[in-house]
């Protein structure tokens, strides 16, 4: 996450002439590169159930196109109170119950309709910034909503391990599991929930990630009581 402060510092640097011209000799170099596209980060979710990766990360998620939050000028505002207030806001009636289908749309207001996209992340983490840019949408100053379904063979006592950039909140079967507060970077096993029970069968995981300037992403896995990744379950989008 490049914080707003960095952005401001960069602008100040530009104003002060800290940024120099490209060295003359560099003009002769080939500076071409691969421009990132959605497919570098995501693939459409297949019909078959997915499994977590070797490290237990859940890669299949339904992601809602970003809800614009232009009022977020800085990530420094992400304290517990702010995030709890923001994550309690309801933008559409079925927000806390929907298990969306790919392409399903929700209506935020008279002008705004957003679509859900069911993807498998190509990486252990879900790059929300690239999800947005890949769809040609504004990637920053945004609230991202995510849903997935975890199918377990029997009742399992686990902890949910989350890293997110920036603040986020996560619910398991409608119960709040964990809040990640502050101007936070995504770190594997950054925050881990109290013990929760995944009941045999279908469990709905729901999350909200908010960010101002900079990149957004998250990674989630379940850990057993010894701290080892849990992998014996499937992941679907329904």
């Amino acid at each position: 996450m490049i914080s707003n402060f960095i952005k401001r510092a960069a602008l100040a640097a530009l104003a002060l002439g800290f940024f120099a011209a490209l060295p003359a000799r560099a003009q002769e170099l080939d500076l071409s590169y691969h421009h990132p596209v959605l497919e570098d980060y995501f693939a459409p979710a297949s019909a078959a159930p997915a499994t977590p990766d070797e490290q237990g990360f859940i890669r299949r998620w339904s992601l809602l196109e970003p809800i614009a939050k232009p009022e977020i000028r800085t990530n420094a505002i992400f304290d517990d109170t702010y995030l709890n207030t923001e994550f309690a806001k309801i933008y559409f009636p079925e927000q806390m119950t929907i298990v969306p289908k790919d392409g399903q749309k929700v209506k935020l207001d008279k002008k705004t309709k957003l679509a859900w996209h069911c993807y498998d992340s190509q990486r252990y983490n879900v790059k929300l910034y690239r999800f947005a840019t890949g769809l040609g949408l504004h990637p920053t100053e945004a609230l991202f909503l995510a849903v997935t379904v975890v199918n377990v063979p029997e009742d399992m006592t686990v902890r949910m391990s989350v890293g997110s950039n920036s603040g986020s909140k996560w619910w398991v079967n409608g119960e709040e599991a964990i809040l990640l507060s502050g101007d936070r970077r995504m770190v594997v096993d950054d925050c881990v929930s109290r013990k929760i029970t995944l009941k045999a069968g279908r469990n709905v995981i729901r999350g909200a990630v908010i960010n101002g300037p900079g990149m957004s992403d998250f990674c989630i896995r379940f850990l057993d009581m010894a701290g080892n990744p849990v992998t014996n379950f499937t992941v679907t989008n329904q």
């Binding site: 996450m1 510092a9 800290f18 500076l31």
Partner: protein, 481 residues
């Protein structure tokens, strides 16, 4: 007018002595300092912008270092008899965005007064597209044990990358491809020690004054291109990193690590604090000793002035005045005790009970088993107006409650003079070593040019000699007990 001048001087002196002993003095205002480097006896560091700081002794800093090119967050390394300087700059990309580039340039000396001073044309060695998962800023050099030259760069926006440079030209090695080695950090640095490559990164929030949460973390790898894992086995590409230094000591936001090796066993880390509470919350240069614990770098705490037992690492005996051991009243109280007798706290021996028995002139110094007696308690006090060395001022070491000061004699022996006068032979350089012990050096250098160390020549005998990190004779602990 003169009155005003005197008042100003008094004000400046007040400000100087109000600063904690751990802070550098002079003009220490810098952001994103490069690794501190020595050139022709002077210390240099360059920051964001065009300038830099220089110091004669590593303690008192002035502006005056010169770097061309502008840009942000430079680094510098000495290769052969030349200095390779790198900085990052930007140039317009698409849609008004800025593309980061890393450049290198050479100079024969860092001394701007030297006729040899002057930078070569900058060469572009690394870059990232304006929509790539990388922003090519904050370069840092590493000369590997095999003579290969590496440069890491990047910031929070995407990955930290590493590229190989040609140490002869400072240019990118032909065909070399950048490798991602970390995420979620910036202001990286690289070290190589004992078969491990270390990647240091700055996590947290920059550029927010007293609220900046910048902190320095570390991972290590057997290969320079990673994977760099932290102490939990977590890859820095997954955000891993073991803490080296976070906020504290009235300063927030340590970042931009630099590694300086004085000699074997004596290592320093340079960095900036985003905000120094004693200096209006400004961004300042800082230096700490660097310790190594179980193969991991750890920032030493600043040396705290105070009253200590000075314990030899050799046997555990302690530095003391060569005076009579004055017995305290009372003998053995173990036998035939009535358990119902009241228990009372005994008083420790007081200075006034023994000081009159000490000679008035110079007193010899030796080591003995510690009994927390007045002749074994030393007060260590910074003397910041007497100069210093990289990261700290000189100290006076006096018997607690007196001005009797530890001093070097003209013939290189140890003594305790009755009064501290501020003379150079009464000033001491105290540095924490990589293993956590300390060395204590004279300010006065011998004819050989070296500062002599406090050395145990026997369990109970202390003299001045050459510092040798491999010997416990040269190591001391400051204990508060």
């Amino acid at each position: 007018m003169k009155k005003i001048e005197l008042s100003l001087i008094a004000l400046l002196l007040t400000a100087l002595f109000a600063l904690p002993a751990a802070a550098q003095i002079g003009n220490v205002y810098i952001h994103d300092p490069s690794t501190i480097i020595k050139c022709d006896g002077k210390y240099y560091t360059f920051g964001t912008g065009s300038g830099g700081l220089m110091s004669e002794d590593g303690w008192t800093w002035t502006d005056g270092a010169v770097r061309t090119g502008g840009g942000v967050a430079p680094d510098v390394i000495k290769i052969g008899d030349r200095y390779l300087v790198s900085y990052s700059a930007g140039y317009p990309g698409t849609e008004g965005k800025t593309r980061g580039v890393v450049t290198t340039m050479w100079t024969k000396t860092l001394d701007p007064e030297s006729p040899d001073f002057g930078y070569s044309e900058p060469e572009l060695v690394a870059w990232a597209g304006d929509d790539e998962d990388c922003w090519a800023i904050d370069p840092a050099f590493l000369m590997g044990p095999d003579g290969r030259l590496w440069c890491s760069y990047g910031t929070y926006f995407g990955a930290i990358r590493i590229v190989e440079l040609d140490p002869a030209t400072g240019k990118r090695m032909p065909g070399n491809k950048a490798v991602d080695i970390a995420i979620d950090c910036e202001a990286t640095a690289l070290m190589y020690k004992d078969g491990w490559y270390y990647l240091l990164g700055t996590h947290g929030t920059c550029c927010d004054g007293v609220n900046s949460t910048y902190n320095i973390v570390c991972g290590r790898s057997r290969s320079v291109t990673g994977p760099y894992l932290d102490n939990m086995g977590r890859d820095m590409l997954q955000g891993g990193g073991r803490m080296v230094l976070s906020a504290g000591n009235r300063a927030t936001g340590p970042g931009h690590f630099g590694w300086f090796i004085e000699e074997e066993g004596v290592e320093k880390m340079s960095f900036h604090y985003e905000a120094d509470y004693n200096r209006s919350g400004r961004s300042v240069l800082a230096v700490r000793s660097l310790l190594w614990k179980n193969g991991w770098p750890v920032a030493a705490d600043p040396f705290k002035e105070g009253t200590y037992e000075i314990e030899s690492e050799r046997r555990g005996y302690s530095l003391e005045l060569a005076v009579d051991f004055v017995r305290q009243a009372g003998g053995m109280r173990a036998f035939r005790i009535n358990p119902n007798d009241p228990v009372v706290e005994l008083e420790e021996q007081k200075l006034e009970e023994v000081i009159d028995r000490w000679p008035a002139g110079e007193i010899g110094v030796r080591a003995g088993d510690y009994m927390f007696r007045p002749h074994q308690k030393w007060t260590v006090t910074a003397v910041p107006d007497k100069g210093g060395y990289l990261g700290a001022p000189y100290y006076k070491i006096t018997i607690a409650g007196t001005e009797r000061a530890l001093a070097a004699t003209e013939d290189g022996e140890l003594t305790a003079v009755p009064e501290f006068t501020g003379a150079d032979e009464q000033l001491w350089r105290i540095e924490q070593l990589t293993d956590g012990t300390f060395r204590i050096l004279t300010k006065v250098a011998c004819k050989c040019g070296k500062q002599k160390a406090l050395v145990s020549t026997g369990d109970s005998t202390v003299a001045l000699g050459e510092f040798d990190f491999s010997s416990d004779n040269c190591k001391w602990n400051f204990r508060d007990r």
